[in-house]
């Protein structure tokens, strides 16, 4: 566990870089291994379209979003036009907007430069987001950014190597294990989101997202289903949360 000193805002403002090691330790406990195992699957896809191993590794460093990388190499393999592919990837990555905003709220500090904030934003993924929701609210503010970088950079570095590993391994993985690697993303997303749930509205948002998506897919189509699902499910859960809070009274 990381140190759970109650949050306070009295610090001089300099980050406590020792907290970076807590982030590295927490990442190596499980999350970094799961993300990096999930990214093994990107290697063979890059290999199949004839891209060099370095490009596969660079995609993990610069895209840093498993589903977008799978779409990219899968789209190239099926001969999709580049602008269409970029559009589809852009839509699939929309989740990073609300996720990164949530992370920014917890990590930003008064004198932080916008470059630092862009650097933070680049490392946001579901794994990192879920970890932030769980750990940061109870963490002292001067420890948060170093902890974040320790955690997120560990995940990214390990994943860059496993992407290369997958590239070398391509074609030599039995199908049931290949299926297992692809299943890592949904199963880990599920557990990560649920680990961050604190009260009924949180669970409601999760349940609504899961149930709404297949229904919305028919109405809104495969481009905007996730956007609509997130907006509808999230807004209903938010309104219920506000309603409960106003009944309790002063808890705001």
């Amino acid at each position: 566990m990381t140190s759970n000193t109650p949050s306070s805002t009295d610090e001089t403002g300099s980050p406590n870089w020792g907290a970076m090691f807590d982030g590295i330790k927490d990442a190596l406990r499980l999350p970094a291994w799961v993300v990096s195992a999930a990214l093994i699957g990107v290697g063979p896809l890059a290999q199949a379209v004839g891209h060099p191993i370095g490009a596969a590794m660079a995609s993990t460093i610069f895209v840093w979003a498993g589903p977008a990388q799978v779409l990219f190499y899968g789209g190239l393999a099926s001969g999709m036009a580049y602008p269409a592919l970029a559009f589809v990837i852009g839509l699939s990555s929309m989740r990073f907007l609300p996720m990164t905003m949530t992370v920014m709220q917890m990590l930003r500090r008064p004198k932080q430069s916008i470059l630092m904030q862009f650097a933070i934003a680049h490392f946001v993924t579901v794994t990192v987001w879920a970890e932030c929701l769980r750990r940061l609210p109870d963490m002292r503010e001067d420890r948060r950014v170093p902890y974040f970088f320790g955690f997120a950079v560990t995940c990214l570095v390990l994943s860059t190597f496993t992407t290369a590993f997958g590239y070398v391994l391509a074609g030599n993985v039995p199908t049931h294990f290949a299926a297992g690697l692809l299943f890592l993303t949904p199963v880990f997303f599920t557990c990560s989101i649920c680990a961050g749930a604190r009260d009924m509205p949180d669970w409601l948002a999760i349940g609504m997202g899961a149930v709404l998506e297949p229904l919305v897919l028919h109405v809104a189509g495969p481009e905007f289903d996730l956007l609509v699902t997130g907006l509808v499910g999230g807004t209903v859960a938010f309104m219920i949360k506000m309603n409960r809070r106003s009944k309790v009274g002063t808890l705001a």
Partner: protein, 112 residues
């Protein structure tokens, strides 16, 4: 030389930029909103519902080798993962391990 760099340039323009644009946009948007604002709370709920939707989409429309898993395997594995996650005091490890075991078995059994 140019040909050697093409895969990198393509990856940056077609995949990294369309993804990074949302992260950068979030930074710009966040700067104009107070940390105490309820907007952040609403955004967190939207992100949660959206991610649950991503999971549903990945499971209902599987790609690659995952498509070889039967429907019962994918659905059963994620339900079992959730049950194990809850049963073991919200252990992500227990959840992932249980889900993976069932999914891999389901593919193996369908193929043999």
């Amino acid at each position: 030389m140019i040909e050697m760099l093409a895969p990198y340039a393509l990856m940056l323009i077609v995949a990294a930029v369309p993804t990074g644009i949302w992260r950068a946009g979030a930074v710009v948007l966040s700067r104009s909103i107070s940390s105490q604002s309820l907007v952040f709370e609403w955004v967190r709920f939207v992100a949660t519902a959206l991610l649950a939707g991503v999971v549903a989409k990945l499971l209902a429309n599987p790609s690659g080798a995952l498509a070889l898993a039967p429907d019962w395997g994918r659905l059963g594995a994620v339900v079992a993962a959730f049950a194990a996650f809850m049963a073991f005091r919200r252990s992500v490890f227990a959840g992932v391990l249980t889900g993976e075991t069932i999914l891999i078995l389901s593919v193996y059994l369908t193929q043999h």
